[in-house]
């Protein structure tokens, strides 16, 4: 990992052990990650987890206290924002209200020394890409929220940055529009081939758009992986809980080896399931995805439970059950497939393959 020589790499951004302190508060505790060229990379986490701080460190609005940030192998930590070949789409867009859309989009090109005619030609081309060609002479204040968002995207893309940084760019849009913009954004990313670093607290956004996701919490990276890896193989309790829904059961692991755990379930049944890296034998947390639990006759299956309530969710029904040992457990059943058990009914639960995973703390 000690690559002192500036080797040509396929990485657009390398975050190397970055620490950020504000006085006595530490916002980032030695964060490291590599973001590949042309990758759609998402920083996902609850507010206050350090994802926006990390983005601002890459953009240059914050100095890093320790560590290095490399852009195509070059350390950019000492450079001021205007000398970094990265551009940002801001959360509230920050479009210049006194300039037209065209002036906004050509702003960066003119600062780079482009001629006015070249800059405007390029700006028009990018505005076409985001389907706003006919709005070039409008002021930002005359556009809708969704249009402003696309101008902000065009403005940041126009100078062909090595990396595009997006700070929760969809959070100011309403739900319907947000879903439409997601696929549009993903298409633009593929078309331009520029690496996107996308900050969000919305796990659905992260899962649907990203090539890879870094889940962050309290200034630490919890897990980096593809959406499928993050969802199906969460490495610890935080990730399992934050991504999707899950049941967390306190269990005893008798043995953990080669990534397989032998587990003693509440009620006495034994289960063999995958274990996250770092999970050890002893007391531990077992993640059970509610949609991968099946119902069976009482006495069958690995767990015995009583139905306490159900919640109708359209395509699915959520069963709130309680195990004999007292833990609550949620089961998600597809509607129409089988009869939904009544309240108070006793039933057995079958843990399907891929439902269970022993987590590290």
């Amino acid at each position: 990992m000690t690559s002192t020589a500036a080797v040509a790499t396929a990485n657009a951004v390398e975050i190397d052990n970055v620490v950020k302190r504000y006085g006595f508060v530490t916002a980032l505790h030695g964060v490291s990650m590599q973001i590949g060229d042309g990758e759609f990379f998402t920083l996902l986490g609850p507010s206050g987890c350090g994802k926006t701080t990390l983005l601002r460190c890459i953009a240059g609005f914050e100095d890093v206290s320790e560590g290095a940030i490399r852009l195509h192998g070059q350390d950019i930590a000492p450079l001021p924002p205007h000398k970094r070949e990265v551009n940002t789409v801001f959360q509230q867009y920050a479009l210049f209200p006194h300039m037209t859309v065209l002036q906004n989009v050509s702003f960066g090109l003119l600062r780079l020394g482009w001629s006015v005619s070249d800059a405007e030609a390029r700006a028009k081309q990018v505005l076409e890409l985001v389907q706003l060609g006919q709005f070039a002479e409008r002021r930002p204040g005359q556009l809708s929220g969704g249009q402003q968002q696309r101008v902000a995207l065009a403005r940041a893309l126009a100078p062909r940055p090595k990396v595009l940084l997006l700070d929760e760019p969809l959070s100011a849009l309403d739900l319907k529009l947000r879903q439409a913009v997601r696929s549009e954004l993903k298409a633009i990313q593929r078309e331009t081939g520029i690496a996107f670093v996308f900050v969000t607290h919305d796990q659905e956004e992260a899962l649907t758009m990203s090539d890879r996701i870094a889940v962050m919490s309290a200034g630490h990276v919890q897990q980096i992986g593809t959406p499928r890896e993050i969802y199906e193989a969460p490495s610890n309790r935080f990730v399992a809980d934050f991504i999707g829904e899950t049941n967390l059961l306190d269990v005893t692991a008798n043995r953990v080896s080669d990534g397989i755990a032998e587990i003693l379930l509440p009620g006495g049944a034994r289960l063999s399931c995958p274990a996250a890296l770092g999970a050890r034998a002893g007391q531990g947390h077992l993640s059970l995805r509610p949609e991968r639990l099946g119902i069976a006759a009482p006495g069958q299956g690995q767990l015995q439970a009583t139905v306490e309530d159900h919640v109708y969710l359209g395509t699915d029904t959520q069963l709130h059950t309680r195990l004999g040992s007292g833990e609550a457990l949620v089961v998600r059943l597809q509607n129409g497939a089988a009869a939904i058990p009544e309240r108070g009914a006793r039933l057995g639960l079958e843990i399907e393959a891929g439902a269970a995973r022993l987590l590290s703390d």
């Binding site: 953009a59 240059g60 609005f61 001021p80 924002p81 205007h82 000398k83 990265v86 551009n87 940002t88 801001f90 509230q92 920050a94 479009l95 210049f96 209200p97 006194h98 702003f107 960066g108 600062r111 780079l112 204040g141 403005r155 940041a156 100078p159």
Partner: protein, 269 residues
């Protein structure tokens, strides 16, 4: 679920309102009305006439008033320009430079002239100019006016800057603008309403100042307020009412302009 208290229902609300308005504005209204008086008396109405306005521009005292007006406007424009430049620089430092040592003290120093009794500033300025051997005259008025105009220019400029989020400058720098370009191309244009408002306020404060001017003006140099005061000492003639009304008109126009510009700037965002 308490009903909002209606201030107008309070006993005596109407009477107090009228009393305040009367004390504040009756003298101004009377001066304005009597400036159109045809008689030479300042208390008896003798019919409508513009003769005292004609007298201001052509009468025996006209050259004196003209020179004073030229001095007043020259000083007001110059002092307002300088005060606005200094106040803009101060506002940038106070609102955009982050935290620095002595920030609170700096803010207090900028606004202190608003709190210090004007007579104290006047005496202090005179003593200062004499001590350093500065000959009193137009230049000393000019310098004194710049100083006391700064807080008046600073307040609207700083208020405006606070309402412009610094993400605009960050966006500019993110798009390869140097800090100076970010200021010149993005922050400054967004600040224009505040700067104009500050300039107009400083202008009118300088134009109307009497006390400090009277102390530091030196012999033979007059501004409009000191010239009016000089004439009044020899008895109030209706031409004084005419010139006072003109000055009042200029003040009202500029203050209104300042207010409208400030408001237009706010509603634009």
């Amino acid at each position: 679920m308490a009903k909002p208290v209606d201030l107008r229902r309070f006993t005596g609300f109407r009477a107090i309102t009228w009393l305040c308005l009367f004390v504040l504005y009756a003298p101004l209204v009377i001066v304005a009305i009597y400036s159109f008086n045809d008689s030479t008396s300042i208390t008896r109405w003798g019919g409508f006439s513009l003769k005292w306005y004609v007298d201001v521009f052509t009468g025996p005292e006209a050259p004196k008033f003209r020179d004073a007006a030229i001095n007043s406007f020259t000083i007001a424009i110059g002092a307002a320009v300088c005060a606005t430049l200094i106040a803009t620089a101060a506002a940038v430092a106070m609102n955009r430079a982050g935290r620095f040592r002595g920030k609170t003290a700096s803010l207090a120093l900028i606004n202190l002239p608003l709190m210090v009794p004007e007579i104290v500033t006047a005496v202090a300025s005179l003593v200062f100019f004499i001590t350093i051997g500065f000959k009193t005259g137009l230049l000393t008025i000019f310098i004194a006016h710049i100083v006391f105009c700064i807080p008046f220019a600073y307040l609207p400029i700083s208020a405006r800057m606070q309402s412009v989020p610094d993400t605009y400058e960050q966006a500019a720098m993110d798009l390869y603008a140097t800090p100076w370009e970010a200021f010149r191309l993005v922050l400054l244009p967004l600040m224009v309403p505040g700067i104009l408002s500050g300039f107009l306020l400083a202008f009118i404060i300088s134009l109307d100042d009497f006390l400090i001017t009277n102390f530091v003006k030196g012999a033979g140099v007059e501004t409009l307020p000191t010239a009016i005061f000089g004439s009044v000492k020899q008895g109030i003639k209706p031409n004084i009412m005419a010139i006072s009304t003109l000055l009042l008109g200029v003040s009202v126009v500029f203050v209104t302009l300042s207010w409208i510009i400030g408001r237009a700037g706010q509603s634009k965002r």
